[in-house]
Amino acid sequence: MEISSDKDYIYTSSELDYQEGQLIEEVKASSRESIQDPDAWLDEELKRNILLTSVDWVLDWARRSSLWTAICFPACCAFEFIAAEGPRFDMSRFGMEILRASPRQADLMITAGTLTWKMAPNVRRIYNQMPDPKWVIAMGACGISGGIFRSSYNVVPGYNKIVPVDVYVPGCPPRPEALIYAVQMLQKKIAKAKVVPDLSELPNPLRKGKK
């Protein structure tokens, strides 16, 4: 096979490396503080119209019973996740049998494994590519706080520096049952979500003057 190798590509590999380095430094500089846990709903009291709540209920039911997972399995926890997907624990009982390689078709990110600074821009990109509504489960000690590698020079101390995390599952790695329990906790959380906005919050064209 003869292909001329002196052909100029748009980017040489050293340029790509340089760009990647820049991106990593950027992400590293911008994620010193951890993102707050999205827990506002925990204290929220639901006083809503019956019609709206039942519409909400249907939508939430649909959302929580088909959580599709994006593939983001850097390390060890991946094998406990696969075990949970596998023949013995079988997460497809919760409508989760599909692992989506494309984040655009997924709504749940199970962060199974250590996150390094080199990987951080990619994880943030995966998260940004997922369509709303989206949830994140931080699986294992590395996902929560960097775990055993927290004092290392290349490890992000917890996924909540990069993406907001809904449920934290301790363990290194957590047993498949613990993960399934966390998924059920997430389902409970989704069940409380308010999907249809209140009428009073919507812009009403008839009541222009009063707003």
Partner: protein
């Protein structure tokens, strides 16, 4: 690539698959049906006994990552150390069990339960009374064979299948 055996290999494979239809499934229906986990299970928490603890901080020294924080003060009246704070961040602990092995007074145990997921990061930090043993936080038999004897026998996937075959 030509098919040398005209699909015999595929048919053989199909036969294996079809046999699986008649077998007992290996699935555990988790929330309704629970496995007896290992007696030595290193669950996702640490159990601390306030009575036995002398505040020597061997556990904190042995912990490979320093997840245990222990503050002691001297009690002059009874001439001993008293533990003021004992704090473990379960989000940082990796359940390696080295602290339980190292404790010279048998005051530490690994937890037996695993359903410890939380909505908030701060809830994962446990201190003082939250670390004591209670019915919802049983201790496991890791390095404590006397506790292991009282725990139920572990469900083994391999035993289940072999016993089923014998019954036939």
């Amino acid at each position: 690539m030509k098919f040398e055996r005209y699909g015999i290999g595929i048919i053989k494979g199909m036969a294996v698959t079809i046999k699986h239809l008649l077998r007992h499934p290996t699935v555990t229906q988790f929330p309704d049906q629970r496995l007896n986990i290992s007696r030595r299970s290193r669950g996702n928490e640490l159990i601390w006994s306030r009575e036995k603890c002398t505040g020597c901080a061997t556990c904190a020294k042995t912990c490979p990552q320093g997840a245990i924080e222990i503050v002691t003060s001297t009690n002059m009246a009874e001439n001993k150390y008293e533990v003021e704070t004992y704090r473990v961040d379960t989000g940082y602990c990796i359940q390696c069990g080295l602290c339980v092995e190292a404790c010279p007074y048998d005051a530490l145990f690994m937890g037996y339960s695993y359903e410890r997921a939380k909505y908030r990061r701060a809830e994962l930090v446990q201190s003082n009374d939250e670390l004591l043993e209670s019915p919802s936080r049983p201790a496991s038999g890791y390095f404590h064979p006397e506790i292991a004897e009282t725990l139920p026998k572990q469900t083994l996937l391999v035993e289940k299948i072999v016993e089923k075959r014998k019954k036939k």
